[in-house]
Point group: C2
DNA sequence: GCTGAAAGCCTCACGAT
DNA sequence: ATCGTGAGGCTTTCAGC
């Protein structure tokens, strides 16, 4: 599962993070490799766990999720928390972290009533503090080898 | 730029969020549409801004980013903040939010010295408080029509 | 990692519902 | 307006080198 990454791999990762549906032919053209060579490298990056998947990115607002928020949640029983997260589709991100608050959640809701419904589920487990997202300045920033 | 989404679109969004590199033939097979029909729907979802892109997902740890953190940053001059974010590739997410802290950043660094370097850049703008990510329970949770 | 051939995919035009 | 069918061109993939 470990792997040595060279310059080709770095450029491949950059291109596929920018456009995951790019053809292997086009990708090869951009990094100056033949289609079979670049396809084999991509296959190895997937097998090594460097590339974990390919995902379409959807605009929450376009689906009617007018409000996005980051919610801090205090110390709560781990299993109870993961169960509640698993049962809540509005949670788009969930991290267990160090600090006074043990959890940070990223949520998407349609309106204030919806926000209240989601927060109520987590208020039952621990104290919450909610920060409404005003502007998303960066998201899914591309990662390159250090 | 507005659009009515039916059951087909919902299933298409679910499939492409799970695997963005799926062929239109396979996608059509799964939602019970012909390849041209499903390709036309995907094209319209892109044009309407519902699908904003397709991205390969990379494991930070596999690239050597052993530490991920969520950093809260207090009130800072907006332009100064966006400039610093733009100049810092370690910032994988950046949100301007309501509350006592005006910003929440998601960062990926290789070690503690690297963490210090990144935090120092933002400490110059406002007070920061850093929460190291212990476990990622959910990330890029799929969004479906409400 | 490259080349070449076979299989599969994408996309266009066109006809049907 | 939207779907399905079929042909042509491109992409992917497997040998062999």
């Amino acid at each position: 599962m470990k792997i040595e990454l060279d310059g080709y791999d770095g450029r491949i990762l950059a291109e596929l993070q920018a456009d995951a549906r790019m053809s292997m032919t086009e990708l090869g053209r951009r990094v100056h490799l033949s289609p079979p060579a670049v396809a084999e490298r991509v296959r190895k990056l997937e097998a090594a766990g460097v590339i974990t998947g390919y995902h379409a990115c959807v605009d929450p607002a376009a689906l009617g999720y007018a409000i996005r928020a980051l919610v801090r949640v205090g110390r709560a029983e781990f299993a109870r928390m993961t169960d509640t997260i698993a049962a809540t589709a509005e949670v788009t991100g969930a991290w267990n972290v160090t600090g006074e608050d043990s959890w940070i959640l990223e949520i998407a809701v349609t309106d204030v009533a919806h926000l209240d419904r989601v927060l109520t589920a987590f208020c039952a487990l621990a104290q919450t503090s909610t920060a409404i997202i005003l502007k998303t300045v960066r998201e899914r920033g591309p990662l390159l080898p250090p």
